[in-house]
């Protein structure tokens, strides 16, 4: 890879106070995300994947202690002001969370929540914002989008809500999308549809995606490269084929071993 990375995480450590001392949730993690690629981050729960994602978004609780650097196009995000971070979140980054059932505010309509993301940093007319929201819902595959704008989250299924979440994340046409276990809470057929959708969006919009999952099978389907995290550390970073052919770390081998039939069609969809 000769391109300059879009995002570069360097020696990132994240600690949380616990009792009298503190625990390290992420320990000196380093990896790069290149423009337009789909980087998978795998690891078991508690390995620091989600904390890393939230650190990139600047959404960790104020008690978190961060060290190291997170460079977005060369600028260190950890040194940015709240305002700069907000602007970055509103223009360059988008995030999809694990729990579609609780990630949308129950008292506002879906349309309101999408339009809010659309107009977060750009002033535009109500009509323009509505059109954009309709456009986004259409893009994430929600039928008769104009009508669904008036729906409240509780009127939609989990899969639909996750599509809405993707629409919100795409509202600012981000260059980097972070998806934290976006399909874990959903059933298998919906999972496949959403992965298809994410992959299609990447190709269409050229958005780089960091896909976090504990499922090697998912990675095999969509990832270009994979970062493996184990016990708060990055233990391996490799292209998807290389990873499946010659896993370097015993934990990676273990992961591959638990999904035996996936190695056969690594790029298949």
């Amino acid at each position: 890879m000769t391109q300059t990375p879009l995002l570069s995480v360097r020696d990132l450590s994240v600690g949380f106070p616990a009792g009298k001392g503190h625990v390290l949730a992420v320990d000196s993690a380093s990896f790069d995300v290149h423009p337009g690629e789909l980087l998978g981050v795998v690891g078991e729960s508690g390995s620091g994947k989600s904390v890393t994602a939230l650190a990139i978004m600047g959404l960790l609780p104020p008690t978190a202690q961060l060290r190291g650097r997170i460079l977005y196009e060369g600028d260190d995000m950890l040194g940015m002001s709240h305002r700069q971070l907000r602007t970055l979140r509103g223009r360059q980054l988008g995030m999809i969370f694990q729990e579609p059932m609780t990630s949308l505010n129950p008292v506002f309509t879906v349309g309101d929540q999408i339009m809010e993301a659309v107009t977060a940093l750009d002033h535009m007319s109500k009509k323009a914002a509505t059109d954009r929201a309709v456009d986004l819902l259409d893009k994430v595959g929600i039928p008769s989008p104009r009508r669904r704008l008036e729906d409240y989250p509780h009127q939609m299924s989990g899969g639909m809500r996750q599509r809405v979440m993707i629409a919100i994340a795409l509202a600012c046409s981000p260059r980097l999308l972070i998806a934290d276990e976006p399909t874990t809470a959903l059933d298998v057929t919906i999972q496949a549809q959403l992965l298809d959708l994410l992959n299609g969006l990447r190709e269409e919009l050229g958005t780089a995606i960091v896909l976090i999952s504990h499922n090697m099978g998912v990675m095999a389907e969509v990832a270009d490269r994979v970062v493996v995290m184990y016990a708060s550390r990055v233990v391996e970073e490799a292209g998807i084929f290389q990873l499946f052919d010659e896993p370097q770390h015993p934990y990676t081998e273990g992961l591959l071993g638990s999904t035996p039939d996936m190695g056969e069609q690594p790029a298949g969809l």
Binding site: M57, L59, H82, R86, T87, L88, R89, G90, R91, L93, G94, M95, F97, E99, T102, S103, L104, N105, P106, V107, F108, T109, Q113, E116, A117, A120, L121, Y152, H154, Q155, M156, S157, M165, I168, A169, A171, C172
Partner: protein, 317 residues
């Protein structure tokens, strides 16, 4: 929603029936002969007979109950022994005063309680949070009538800012009303403000930890909007549910507070009735205030369902 309102009103009927029966029964709690107690030691046998006849105590119990309910259904709560006017009339005449101060006090409670609770939650475990928590605890621990006396000593006697009591109707002189109604309203509000602060703080803390708040932040909208729109909308609902409780505390507090400040509302009316053993007025006042609160509670519940789209819109999956 109309169906819900109607069903809540229907549910209130048996409770209202029991409540009225209890209010009716209070006169039977008087130890010994009620007429003697009401008439006092100087009453002659003729006076006593007159009192019994006025209150219907010379009738058999079932006739008394029947009469009570026949009158009640016509809005007749009996005649005040002290004032000589119908209880309903006296209450309705006095109610604008009490309602005015109650609304003033409610506004103070909500503004003070909500803002303190939210500030505390936003500064969780920092000194502002501690200060708000202490304020709320002290608020719920002070007797409101004592607070009223302290305020009179401080603001009327020592500083001379406000009159020690009395009342000027709002329609006559809004400034005068504000000068006379402020201390009663504040002394009524502080207790509930403490209560509301505690509830708002814990609800806000819970809401702020929700996933949808994180989603809102991830959009890049201002923190002001995250808290003021996304969090607040969800905090309001649990807060609405305690409105009924707040109103109830507020109206019972008004007896003492109106008496202290000489405000001519329902509270002072009842306070006078108590000291002069005017039982029809006590019964009628008790029943009236409780029935009003039952209706207000239903209103609050309906408001709640209207606020929550999960109930209002339905069609949940």
């Amino acid at each position: 929603m109309l169906g819900y309102t109607v069903s809540r009103l229907l549910q209130a009927i048996p409770i209202l029936f029991l409540v009225s029966l209890m209010a009716f029964g209070i006169i039977y709690l008087i130890p010994g002969d009620a007429a003697t107690v009401i008439g006092g030691p100087s009453a002659s046998a003729q006076d006593l007979a007159q009192i019994r006849a006025n209150l219907g105590l010379d009738q058999p119990l079932h006739v008394q109950i029947l009469t009570f309910y026949t009158n009640l259904l016509q809005g007749d709560l009996g005649r005040s022994l002290l004032l000589g006017v119908p209880v309903t009339e006296a209450i309705i005449q006095r109610s604008p005063v009490t309602i005015g101060i109650a609304i003033y006090s409610l506004v103070l409670t909500i503004v003070l309680g909500l803002s303190t609770g939210i500030i505390a939650a936003l500064n969780h475990n920092r000194w502002l949070d501690q200060a708000a928590t202490i304020f709320a605890l002290i608020g719920v621990s002070l007797p409101n009538f004592w607070l009223a006396l302290v305020m009179i000593v401080l603001f009327s006697v020592n500083l001379g800012w406000l009159p020690t009591g009395g009342y000027v109707p709002f329609s006559q002189d809004p400034i005068g009303w504000l000068r006379t109604a402020t201390m009663p309203a504040v002394s009524l509000a502080l207790l509930q403000a403490g209560l509301l602060t505690r509830i708002t703080r814990s609800t806000m803390l819970e809401v702020l930890s929700q996933d949808y708040i994180r989603t809102a932040r991830s959009k890049g909208i201002s923190e002001w909007k995250v808290v003021g729109k996304h969090a607040l909308a969800n905090v309001m609902m649990p807060v609405v549910t305690v409105l009924g409780l707040i109103l109830s505390v507020l109206l019972s507090g008004s007896i003492v507070i109106e008496t202290i400040f000489g405000v001519p509302g329902i509270g002072a009316l009842l306070g006078n009735a108590i000291s002069s053993r005017d039982y029809p007025m006590i019964q009628g006042g008790l029943l009236f205030v409780t029935a009003a609160l039952l209706l207000l509670n239903i209103l609050v519940d309906v408001l709640y369902t209207w606020l929550d789209p999960r109930i209002r819109v339905g069609g949940g999956k």
